[in-house]
Symmetry: C2
Subunit: 394 residues, 2 copies
C-alpha cells in the first residue's frame, strides 16, 4: 500500500477508485487480517474511508455510495464486507479488503438503518419511505422478503436478535414487530401493539434478550423481554418527562449501543441536558447526570469504567467522559465542531471521533485522554470497526 | 483453495505444509476476511487445523508446534496471527491466512497458558517450569520481560486486563499479581498476598473489572475488584466445600470464560457433580445444579439462554445444556468419547465440539441441537475462533 500513501498527498477524492487497488492485487497489501479494519462514513461525498485501527491510518477510499447524510453500517461474519445503509434508500456492499464497491441497490426512497442476521445470510433495511422492512440476500443483494408496514408506517430501531430474528419499531403506528426468519425466507411475524406513541429508536441488549424502544410521543420507554414474549411489552421509566418542561429537541438521540457498566445502564435523555441512569436489573431510574448539552450517543468504553457522551447542535464541539463509579463527569474535551460519532477499538484502548467540520477523525487513548493520531476525512460521521461483525444488535 | 480440497482426500498430515499454500499466493484464496476463521488444536500431533466457521470446513493444517497435549491460543488484534501456548513451553506464532508457522520459541520448560495485551503488542506466558511469567514482543517473539515468581512458583490463570495489564495467580505461594505494562516494558508489579491456598485457575470478567481465582487447597474463591484495588482480595463462596465429602478430582475445571447469563453466573464445582450458581451482583451462591459428572467447562452461549457443560473422564462423552431461566438441564447429548472443548460461533448460532477419541470436530445448531457438520481432526482439543481477538480476558 506504499503506492497509495505516496499518492495521497497529490490526489483528489475521485482518484482512489478500485482500479488503483486492483493493480496491487497480487501484492501483500490485500493479504491481511480484517480484525483491525473499519470504515468511516464521509457524509457529504457519498464515500467511505477504509481504515486500519492498529496503524491509525487510512488504507483507501471507496466512492459512489450515494447520499450518506444519515448512514450506518454492519459487517459480514467474515469481517470482509461492509453493508452501508444510506439516506437515499441505497444499500451498498463494500469489499474493504479490495477497496471496492461490490454492489449497490436502491431499495427504498429513504432508509434509516439496517441489520444483519445472526447467520450472516440476510441483510434487513428499515425504511421511512415506503415504510416497512426489506430483506436482502447478503451475497447478492437480491431482495428476498418485503414486509410492508401498516399504512406505510416509517420503521425505526431495526436490530438483529438471536435465532435469525429482526426486531423493528413502527414510528407511526406505535408497534414493535418481531420478524422471525429461522424457518426460511417467509418470516413469522409477531406484532406487539399499543406500545406507545412514536417510538424513535431502539436497542437490543448484547445478550439478545431485551428490546427497548424510546418513545418520542409520550413518557417512558417500551421494553420487550424476548425470553418471555407472552408477557408482552411493558413500560419503563414512565415518570420520565412528567411535570418537567420540555426543551426543544435539536436532534434525536441514538439508543443503539447499550451503555451498560456493571449494574448501571446509561441512556441519553430526549431534549434534556442529562443522562438517565437505570438499574439494569430492576429497570428503574436510580439517578440523572447533568451534562453539557442534549446527549446524542452515550457509549460504554469496552473494559473501562467510563461512559463517553457527545451532543447535538449547538454543543456538538464537546465530549464528556463520565466515571460510572462516581457518577461524575471527569473529563470535558473540545475536539472541534461537529463531533458526530465515536467508536472504540474492540478492547477499548483507543477511541476514534469524527470531527465533521474540521474534516478530521481524531484518535485518543482512553487511559490518558491523550490525542495519539488524526486522519483526514471529508465531513466524517459514523465510524464502524469490524468487531461489530461478531456482536448481537449492532 | 480448490487445489487443497482436491488433495485433501489423498494426503497425510505432513503434506499440508506452507509450500502448497504459498504456491497459491497470488490467488483469491488468501484474500479473505479473517472474521470467520479459527484454529483447532490437534493435541497428539503438534499441529493445528485452520478452519472456516461459515463454510464449516478445514482450510489447511499447520504442523510443527511441538507438544500440544495441553494448549491454548490467543489472537493478534488484526485476527491474522494465532499465538499458541504449548505444554512444552513452546510459544508458536501461526499465520492463519498463509497457513504458516511464522516463528516458534521454547520460552520455558512447561507452560500452562498465555494472554495478549490490550494493545496487542505483548504476549505473556505463564509457566509451571521455571515458574513466573515471560513476556514477548507480539511481532518478533523476542522476550521483552522476564518476571520470576517467588521460589519459582508455578503460575496459573494468566489473563489480560485493561490498561496493558496482565493478571496472574501463583499456585505455590497463594498470591495474585498484577503486572502493569502501561508505562513500558518494565512492569509495575502489585502483589496481593495470602489470597488462599493453591489457586488453580482464574477468570476475568468481560468488562475487565473482576479477577476471580479458584482455590484448590481450601474453600471458596478469591476475588479482586480491579476498580478498587485498595480493598484487596476478598473471599467469595467461602462455605463452598465445607462439611461435604470431597470427591476425587479427575481433572481440574477451567474457569476462563465467565459463564454469565442475566444476573447469574455459573461455575464448575471442583470434584463435584454440580454447577454453582452465583448472583453476579452480590457474589453469593443462589443455587446448585446437579449435572452428569465433574464439570470442566461451563460456557454461556452468546445471545442465548443456555449454559453448555462438558465433563471430565470417565463422563467425557457427554454434553449437557442448561436453561438459565429454569435452572434445569434441557438437553443431554452424547457426541462421542472425549468431548474436550466447545467453541461458539461469535453470535452463537452454532457450536463446535472437539470429540477427541473419534478424531472429529462436530458442529451443532444451538437452536435445534441438530448436527449440521463435522470435520476430521486428529485428536482435537481446544477450538479458538478469531473473535477472541476482540475480547478482554480470553
Amino acid at each position: 500500500m506504499k503506492l497509495f500513501k505516496h499518492l495521497k498527498k497529490i490526489s483528489t477524492a475521485g482518484l482512489f477508485g478500485s482500479a488503483l487497488l486492483l493493480s496491487a492485487c497480487a501484492s501483500d497489501g490485500l493479504i491481511r487480517g480484517t480484525g483491525d479494519m473499519g470504515i468511516v462514513i464521509e457524509r457529504a461525498t457519498g464515500s467511505v474511508l477504509v481504515v486500519d485501527n492498529t496503524k491509525d491510518e487510512t488504507i483507501t477510499r471507496v466512492n459512489g455510495l450515494g447520499d450518506l447524510s444519515h448512514a450506518s453500517a454492519v459487517y459480514s461474519r467474515d469481517a470482509r464486507y461492509a453493508y452501508v445503509f444510506g439516506r437515499d434508500g441505497g444499500l451498498s456492499k463494500v469489499d474493504i479488503l479490495k477497496g471496492e464497491l461490490v454492489k449497490r441497490v436502491i431499495q427504498g426512497g429513504n432508509s434509516i438503518g439496517g441489520a444483519i442476521s445472526q447467520d450472516g445470510k440476510l441483510v434487513a433495511v428499515s425504511n421511512y419511505e415506503p415504510g416497512g422492512v426489506r430483506v436482502f440476500d447478503a451475497k447478492t443483494l437480491e431482495m428476498v422478503a418485503d414486509i410492508p408496514a401498516n399504512d406505510g408506517s416509517k420503521t425505526v430501531g431495526l436490530a438483529d436478535a438471536p435465532g435469525n430474528v429482526f426486531m423493528v419499531s413502527l414510528w407511526d403506528d406505535g408497534e414493535i414487530w418481531k420478524l422471525d426468519f429461522s424457518k426460511g425466507l417467509t418470516p413469522a411475524i409477531t406484532k406487539f401493539k399499543d406500545i406507545g406513541t412514536n417510538p424513535y429508536d431502539a436497542l437490543i441488549s448484547p445478550d439478545g434478550r431485551y428490546y427497548v424502544a424510546g418513545l418520542f410521543g409520550e413518557d417512558g420507554l417500551a421494553k420487550l423481554d424476548l425470553w418471555n414474549e407472552a408477557k408482552g411489552v411493558t413500560r419503563i421509566l414512565d415518570h420520565y418527562g412528567k411535570g418537567e418542561q420540555k426543551l426543544p429537541v435539536y436532534k434525536m438521540p441514538h439508543l443503539e449501543g447499550w451503555a451498560v457498566a456493571g449494574d448501571l445502564m446509561f441512556l441519553p435523555a430526549v431534549g434534556r441536558h442529562e443522562l438517565l441512569v437505570l438499574d439494569k436489573n430492576t429497570w428503574k431510574e436510580v439517578g440523572r447526570i447533568p451534562v453539557h448539552g442534549q446527549p446524542i450517543f452515550a457509549m460504554a468504553q469496552p473494559g473501562g469504567k467510563y461512559i463517553w457522551v457527545n451532543f447535538s447542535v449547538p454543543k456538538n464541539d464537546t465530549i464528556q467522559v463520565i466515571d460510572v463509579q462516581q457518577l461524575k463527569i471527569i473529563k470535558t474535551m473540545k475536539p472541534g465542531k461537529g463531533v458526530l460519532h465515536m467508536e472504540f477499538t474492540p478492547r477499548g484502548e483507543k477511541v476514534w471521533m469524527s470531527v465533521r467540520d474540521e474534516n478530521r477523525v481524531d484518535i485518543y487513548r482512553t487511559d490518558s485522554f491523550e490525542k495519539v493520531g488524526s486522519i483526514e476525512a471529508t465531513k466524517p460521521s459514523g465510524i464502524f470497526f469490524t468487531d461489530r461483525a461478531h456482536k448481537i444488535g449492532l
